[in-house]
């Protein structure tokens, strides 16, 4: 029986983003404040108002390939062979293989249903068969991390790979273009001048283990569903999920040193998240340091929660944090919250980090990570 303060080892991490391939490359670029949107190449945007996105550079590849890259890196960091025959692999993705389906439909071709999920790619590359594609919202991969921890807690596994991957579909891109009041050319989370979110491609993976060396430890992941609205977040739900994550980790809000916010740069979501952060942590300048990276990576949809986990792991490990690029004039709701300005953290290095991932349908997840001792 596991007590509420049971922790799990993050033994390895992997990431592929528009900033480059690998955890270190991505984290160094983030800390340097690099990265920004460029004109989208994957499909024709000439009829749309929005033209920019954060695609992974180089020749286009399927999201399954990016996923396998991230998983391979995480296994390498953990000192494990690229053999997942007996290891569960949990993948969260908002848009899974749907871009391939869109391309097939454009030519009125046939679709292999197996191409919509990631099981076949993971079996071919790593021999994995206990594989699960969760088609969630933007919190999908943090949900996958939570369920990975549950497998360890239940004694069903000693090692689990949790991953997130997302591509940019023409449907999601076009519908956001239709729904957002403006057509952003840059992402400015929590800034008064923000004009909306821009999608990004990405993959992230962590190896979660019961024992052994750790780059950081996972203390809890709280899951909640607002059950209020199909797209808009609910502030009470965002507050409640954070509070529950603290309870499950056996900590108080004041123990949190660092928050990796969702921070999509969208008008409604940023306001709701800032209000929720202010309610949980206070606005008297005592809030933890808040980082948000989507000005540099774009909104990587269902991958974003696990990408944030990889980034927070690096923050805890190195004591460095990425600057809140794009934020110069915070919205009223964010007044009194402390945002990262980059460079080493003043005072003591962060020990406890919180990760927020809030998705369509009010599907919320909040994780608590601790520095590996």
């Amino acid at each position: 029986m596991n007590g509420p303060t049971q922790t799990w080892r993050i033994a390895g991490t992997g990431a592929v983003t528009s900033l480059g391939t690998g955890t270190a490359v991505t984290f160094d670029a983030l800390c340097a404040g690099r990265g920004g949107p460029v004109p989208l190449r994957a499909f024709d945007t000439s009829r749309m108002r929005t033209r920019h996105a954060f695609e992974i550079p180089g020749p286009p590849r399927e999201p399954a390939d990016r996923l396998c890259q991230a998983v391979a890196e995480a296994l390498g960091q953990a000192g494990l062979p690229a053999d997942l025959t007996d290891v569960p692999v949990l993948v969260g993705s908002g848009l899974r293989g749907l871009r391939a389906a869109e391309r097939r439909w454009a030519e009125r071709g046939r679709l292999d249903v197996a191409d919509l999920s990631f099981g076949r790619a993971l079996r071919d590359r790593f021999g994995a068969v206990d594989t699960h594609t969760f088609g969630g919202a933007c919190s999908a991969s943090l949900y996958a991390l939570a369920l990975a921890a549950d497998l360890l807690a239940a004694g069903d596994a000693d090692t689990v790979v949790a991953a997130g991957v997302d591509t940019i579909t023409a449907s999601m891109y076009g519908l956001l273009d239709r729904a957002q009041p403006q057509s952003p050319r840059e992402v400015r989370p929590f800034d008064r001048a923000r004009s909306g979110q821009l999608l990004g491609e990405g993959a992230a993976a962590v190896v979660l283990r019961r024992g052994g060396p750790a780059r950081a430890v996972l203390r809890s992941v709280a899951l909640h569903c607002d059950a209020r609205h199909v797209t808009a977040p609910d502030v009470d739900g965002l507050v409640g999920t954070q509070t529950r994550a603290h309870e499950q980790a056996g900590i108080k809000a004041s123990d949190v040193d660092l928050v990796h916010a969702q921070g999509t740069g969208s008008l409604v979501n940023d306001r709701a998240e800032a209000l929720a952060l202010a309610r949980v942590f206070g606005t008297g300048g005592e809030s933890p340091l808040i980082i948000s990276v989507e000005a540099m990576t774009g909104h990587t949809s269902g991958c974003s929660g696990l990408l944030a986990t990889v980034i927070a792991t690096e923050c805890l490990r190195t004591g460095r944090v990425p600057p809140a690029v794009g934020l110069s004039d915070p919205i009223d709701e964010a007044t009194g919250l402390r945002f990262a300005t980059g460079g080493p953290v003043g005072g003591h290095a962060p020990v406890t980090a919180q990760i927020d991932a809030f998705g369509f349908g009010g599907v919320n997840a909040v994780a608590i990570l601790g520095k590996a001792l």
């Binding site: 009829r47 749907l98 197996a114 899951l223 909640h224 607002d226």
Partner: protein, 345 residues
């Protein structure tokens, strides 16, 4: 708090397939030639919803009602105790592909804002949660041929890890134009190419069921996802025998234990069900197990999905009847609907 030994009971089931009656009807699945119209039903609050969501809501409501968890359309237990798992591979394919076409050809003028949530794969699960106020864990499995059984497996895990006390599990696939063109077997008769329906289960911890005086008798015992059907069946501990055998869609003997008493092969009675199959199998299994079997029949039902050459793996779920508990007063399935097993080889 995680408790791996938690007993998980089937509290209610629902079926939303034109012409197929609730629960036990799945064992035979005799469909009338013409489905009732209109299908799927559409109301004021669902007229902008995608087809999969509208069908899923019908099945979920039936299952929640049978579980005694709805009164006047509202939940009778706190929403924080109820989670959701939906399995669907093709659910939002139609909206996604048509919107992609329109976005590229016509830009925003060709798109509807109400389709935005459907661009994301979790639209059915969040819509079910919103309709019934389900605040606990909200999952969507898009996991290929095994997806429905995987959804049942994750519901059991969510209950054992204490993330919910009740889980609504829905398997749904819509016969929308895009999947009918891109995925369905064109060699089959029209109307038989792709399931246009859903099944739902409400699973509940034995403790929560006892707390509201619902001593249900069917339990989900084990779940596993493995390389092939035989390995999955061994992993759920059913390598030797099962009362009811619910084979994977493509080959009725793939993974079959040597000793079985009855067969329910949905590939012979329903159109291809993709991500809904596993939930349909478990609903049929629960109906079969809710009737006292003849002496000598193992009180177990074994469902297997996947394992075809094009699938990445196979999954199995084992359900059992608890003999020590009183049987609920559900109408039993007419046993002759069960196809008798072929003789052992």
């Amino acid at each position: 708090m995680t408790c791996p030994s938690t007993t998980v009971l089937v509290a209610g089931t629902g079926v939303a397939i034109p012409g197929v009656p609730q629960g036990a009807g799945l064992l035979a699945a005799v469909r009338p030639p013409h489905p009732p119209l209109p299908w799927p039903p559409s109301g004021r609050d669902t007229r902008f919803k995608d087809r999969a969501t509208r069908i899923a809501l019908v099945a979920a409501e039936a299952a929640l009602a049978e579980a005694g968890l709805l009164k006047d359309g509202s939940l009778t237990v706190p929403g924080t105790t109820v989670g959701t798992v939906v399995s669907s591979n093709l659910g939002n394919l139609d909206t996604v592909c048509r919107s992609a076409d329109a976005a590229v050809r016509a830009g925003p003028a060709g798109l509807r804002v109400v389709d935005l949530p459907t661009a994301c794969s979790n639209v059915v699960a969040s819509s079910v949660a919103i309709r019934f106020g389900l605040n606990a864990v909200n999952l969507t499995l898009c996991n290929g041929a095994t997806s429905g059984l995987d959804a049942v497996g994750w519901a059991v895990r969510a209950l054992r890890s204490g993330r919910a006390r009740r889980m609504v599990v829905v398997g749904v696939e819509p016969a929308d134009p895009v999947p009918l063109h891109m995925v369905a077997d064109q060699a089959r008769a029209p109307g038989d190419r792709l399931l246009d329906g859903a099944a739902a289960l409400v699973l509940e911890t034995a403790q929560a069921a006892a707390g509201r005086g619902r001593p249900n008798s069917v339990t989900v015992t084990a779940y596993a996802r493995r390389r092939d059907p035989a390995a999955a069946v061994r992993a759920v501990g059913a390598g030797k025998e099962a009362g009811l055998w619910l084979p994977p869609g493509h080959r009725a003997d793939d993974g079959r234990p040597p000793h079985i008493c009855a067969v329910c092969d949905m590939a012979r009675t329903l159109p291809p069900a993709s991500g809904a199959l596993g939930v349909l199998q478990c609903v049929a299994a629960a109906a079969w197990l809710s009737v006292t079997p003849p002496p000598g029949t193992p009180p177990t039902a074994l469902a297997v999905s996947g394992g075809a050459p094009e699938d990445d793996a196979a999954a199995a779920v084992l359900l059992s009847a608890l003999s020590s508990m009183p049987r609920p007063g559900l109408p039993g399935p007419p046993r002759p609907h069960c196809e008798e097993a072929p003789p052992e080889r």
